[in-house]
Amino acid sequence: MPFRMDVFRFVYWLCRDRALAEDVVQETMLRAWRSLDSLSDEKAARPWLLTIARRELARVFERKRLPVVDLDAASELDPQALAVDDRHEVEEMRRAILKLDVIHREPLVLQVLMGYSTEEIARHLEISVAAVLTRLFRARQVLRQQMLGSDGTQP
């Protein structure tokens, strides 16, 4: 299924739980398949899937109280999820991203990983472009501070 990898990464970085992300991706693909006729433009498939995934995750959050994510466990005890690169900097950055608030993490994922424009992020999150820019700026400020603080050098 095209975009499955994108959807998985997007959901993972929202929920920070690999097993939950896999479940949500599965459900997302099922729902997408069922409502395929509502997709009028094939070029819009990826944002359409991400929107379905976001709603599905919200539904999961609404329906059950999820366990608190242990950030150490998310970044250390789940090597399958994170061990794409063993470089120290990448690991440090992952830890820093995991600690970001979701309101800062989500637009950052959409921009850097998915290549969304600011306007597309604003539409996806249903907020203003100015609010998106503020969140992106804040996200990078926090990451920069954490990275500078972690080893005293600039990234």
Binding site: R4, M5, F8, R9, Y12, W13, E22, R31, R34, S35, S38, S40, I52, R55, E56, A58, R59, Q80, A81, L82, A83, V84, D85, E89, V90, M93, R94, I97, L108, V109, Q111, V112, L113, T118, E126, V132, L133, T134, L136, F137, R140, Q141, L143, R144, M147, Q154, P155
Partner: protein, 225 residues
């Protein structure tokens, strides 16, 4: 553009191609370096975000023999699943058909993803087509419809809508072919609803913590049969 404005923009969009940003880089070495640092950090962020996904298994992983216990576990799981399925089928065959209200709730649950609070609305043309298929029209601007499908329900195609209200999303099933009945209230698992007689058949409204009667009346007055 001063340095502060530059850094605010580049802090949000390191790859910004804003002409003012590019012009500022030309004559401010400090800001040019800041931009390069932010772009380098973005490359690092990308690498950090690009985690391994379930679909990215290597050839060795795919071709490697399964764990010794796995086949047995799978057989046991399959046996349990078949037993459960057989039990469920027997139960289904022995159980009377679900009521109209239960069928409506089941149908709504099946398309639960549509029950989200959103400002997006469906395309007017699509909505018209779905309603027209059931011989219906909705007065323009009468409701904010965020989801519209033509669904199979109890042997007929019906318009399945989600209407955005100030209390949240409400599912609306317009069922033109249904036995005449009195108004019926639904209250199940935190879900409120009403089945309301309509000029043809009934209209079903389901939602959580909302005045479903009010929504039903509003739609009935806006629908033209």
């Amino acid at each position: 553009m001063n340095c502060e404005q530059f850094r605010t923009i580049v802090g949000a969009e390191p790859d910004s191609t804003d002409p003012d940003v590019l012009a500022h880089v030309e004559h401010c070495p400090d800001c040019a370096r800041y931009r390069e640092e932010m772009q380098a950090m973005d490359r690092l962020i990308y690498r950090a975000l690009a985690i391994e996904t379930p679909a990215e298994k290597t050839t060795e992983q795919v071709l490697s023999p399964p764990q010794p216990r796995a086949p047995r576990l799978w057989r046991m799981a399959a046996t349990v699943l078949l037993t459960v399925l057989a039990g469920m089928m027997a139960l289904w065959l022995l159980t009377p058909r679900e009521s109209f209200a239960e069928a409506a709730i089941t149908h709504m649950r099946h398309e639960q993803a549509s029950m989200v609070r959103t400002s997006e609305t469906v395309d007017d043309t699509r909505l018209e087509q779905i309603l027209a298929a059931a011989g219906l029209q909705l007065k323009p601007g009468a409701a904010r419809v965020s989801y519209a499908q033509s669904c199979q329900f109890r042997g007929q195609q019906i318009p399945h809508l989600v209407v955005q209200t100030e209390h949240g999303p409400a599912t609306v099933l317009v069922v033109p072919e249904a036995p005449a009945q009195q108004r019926e209230k639904i209250d199940e698992d935190g879900l409120q609803g009403v089945i309301m007689p309509a000029p043809r058949g009934v209209i079903v409204v389901l939602g959580e913590n909302m005045p479903v009667d009010e929504v039903a009346h509003t739609l009935l007055s806006a629908l033209q049969y």
